[in-house]
């Protein structure tokens, strides 16, 4: 059963360490996952390394799933091209897209995670 979540995006050390090597395997690993709360992770019947599909009003993306220290109903995706496939492009006139606090649906998937080059 898919679950409803709120997406938060942000920096991580690994995203920062690899940000000048965007076409590398390390950057791919650093940004192509999402963290879910333990409860949500288990509710979706996930194991470490499984993939999830995230769908919002603004797009969809497949990423790897991990358990993170998060409240139930919140997922965290490191800032980057995977997060940007689902965050809100509406700026409410401020010029700033909503990178945090976007509603989405998450479900387990067997689809592959796209490579960085294939996201374009």
């Amino acid at each position: 059963m898919p679950i409803e979540v709120e997406i938060i995006t942000g920096r991580t050390i690994d995203q920062g360490r690899t940000v000048e090597e965007k076409l590398s395997e390390e950057y791919f690993k650093a940004v192509s996952y999402c963290e879910l709360s333990k409860d949500d992770f288990e509710a979706l019947g996930l194991n470490e390394g499984d993939r999830v599909k995230i769908k919002s009003d603004f797009g969809e993306v497949v990423v790897f799933a991990r358990i993170g220290d998060l409240p139930k109903g919140m997922i965290f995706i490191p800032m980057g091209p995977y997060a940007n496939a689902v965050i809100s492009d509406d700026t409410d006139g401020t010029g700033m897209p909503r990178f945090k606090g976007v509603k989405a649906i998450v479900d387990r998937t067997d689809e592959e995670v796209k490579r960085i080059e294939d996201l374009i």
Binding site: G16, E21, N84, D89, G95
Partner: protein, 419 residues
């Protein structure tokens, strides 16, 4: 071993060393260490993926720019003021849009400064005086790893002598790595920062709140925080993208500034943004001293106009309001919403950057640049507005951003008939 200044994050650490023979850093955090290490470079200037000379690439770039009705010149946060200055002049001559990374980062803080001002202080003040530090929606352990030790948590200052004399509070929607080093972590509901700042303003004034909780935090906990704030000798809210990129955006910061103004009736408080890239402050300050605005500036009418609703990079791309782009020291393809990237893919793009990234993959003209802080020098503003000279310590075949942009400007002036 050379003494250098780090050109990764907004902390711009000026106490680090770099071994130019081994190409290895010393005293850096993980982020700085990666910056000062060997990695894949763009090997030569390219047009449509074919290697060409710098002159040929610059000619092709100028061709695109002068034939464009309204080019977008975007990026600028990871280069020096000298290069940014040429970029602003270039945008003006071309009648284009100047925008920089703040528009997807701390731009809302600029809007709130226009409304309310910014009661601020330097990192030196934070280190020496701040006995209460609140990280609000910011996560220095992952974004500015040496900030806590150099300035804001364990730093030994003149008045605040050690960690025991400083109370550190983290307010966030999730338990970040920074939350773990705090004396107190206050977890709030996403999108409720504005309401919580309002509640704190009421509590500081001594007004009653007719609710049990605000934004997921009990009113008694908020009352405790308000008391801690009032009793500080010198407090600092150091905020991050948690409040600039979520519901409320600039209004969140405006409300936080109002709280700080109020607290200053009782004691001394400052508020300051935790700026990301090493010279993202310069990307705003330089156009401010050149043409009066920090970002989202349009020159298409021959004079500068500021309007983030129209000229911030996301808006300009979503409305397809630019027909060419020059991207300098940035990677918008990786960092903008997908729909905004769609338009970027459909127009000719010129990129100036030391490293291949996602924008390289869609660029018609790619011009590799020297790495500023290692192979090129200049001036950068630290996150608190302190200018620091970043060094050139390694010779390189690559041209600096400043030199590339100068050559472009010279040719644009000739092509467009400016004397």
């Amino acid at each position: 071993m050379e003494n250098v200044v780090c050109t990764f994050c907004g902390s711009v650490c000026d106490d680090v060393q770099f071994d130019t023979q081994q190409y290895k850093g010393k005293k850096f955090c993980a982020l700085g260490m990666s910056k000062f290490s060997a990695k894949e470079r763009i090997k030569s200037p390219m047009i449509d993926g074919k290697a060409v000379s710098y002159e040929e690439a610059i000619d092709a770039a100028v061709d695109i720019l002068v034939n464009s009705k309204k080019p977008l010149l975007y990026g600028w946060a990871s280069t020096v003021n000298e290069a940014i200055r040429v970029g602003v002049i270039l945008t003006e001559k071309l009648g284009g849009i100047y925008d920089q990374c703040s528009s997807v980062c701390h731009g809302p803080g600029v809007l709130s400064t226009i409304e309310e001002g910014l009661p601020g202080g330097t990192l030196g003040q934070v280190k020496n005086r701040a006995d209460v530090v609140v990280f609000w929606g910011s996560n220095p352990m992952e974004a500015h790893p040496r900030h806590p030790t150099r300035y804001s948590v364990t730093a030994k200052g003149f008045f605040v002598k050690d960690r025991k004399e400083r109370k550190v509070i983290v307010v966030d929607v999730r338990k970040t790595k920074s939350a773990r080093l705090a004396d107190e972590f206050i977890q709030i509901k996403p999108g409720y920062d504005y309401a919580i700042f309002s509640a704190l303003r009421m509590l500081v004034k001594g007004e009653e709140i007719e609710a049990e909780e605000v934004g997921g935090v009990s009113v008694s906990k908020l009352a405790e925080l308000a008391e801690t704030m009032k009793n500080a000798k010198y407090g600092a809210i150091l905020y991050g993208l948690g409040i600039t990129q979520s519901r409320g955006r600039d209004r969140n910061i405006e409300n936080a500034v109002k709280l700080i103004q109020l607290l200053n009736r009782y004691t001394r408080w400052i508020i300051w943004p935790m700026r990301g890239h090493y010279n993202v402050v310069g990307a705003g300050e330089v156009p401010a001293w050149e043409v009066g605005y920090q970002y989202a500036i349009d020159f298409s009418r021959g004079y500068p106009r500021f309007s983030p609703a129209e000229f911030a990079v996301s808006e300009a791309l979503l409305r397809r309001d630019c027909d060419a782009a020059l991207i300098v020291a940035s990677d918008p393809v990786a960092h903008l919403p997908k729909k905004a990237v769609e338009h970027l893919k459909s127009i000719p793009v010129i990129q100036i950057d030391p490293f291949p990234n996602m924008t390289t993959l869609i660029s018609k003209v790619v011009i590799p640049a020297a790495i500023t802080g290692i192979e090129a020098e200049g001036t950068a503003y630290r996150m608190d507005g302190i200018p620091l000279r970043v060094k050139k310590v390694v010779d390189s075949e690559y041209w600096s951003d400043e030199k590339i942009l100068h050559e472009m400007l010279k040719r644009v002036e000739v092509r467009m008939g400016f004397s």
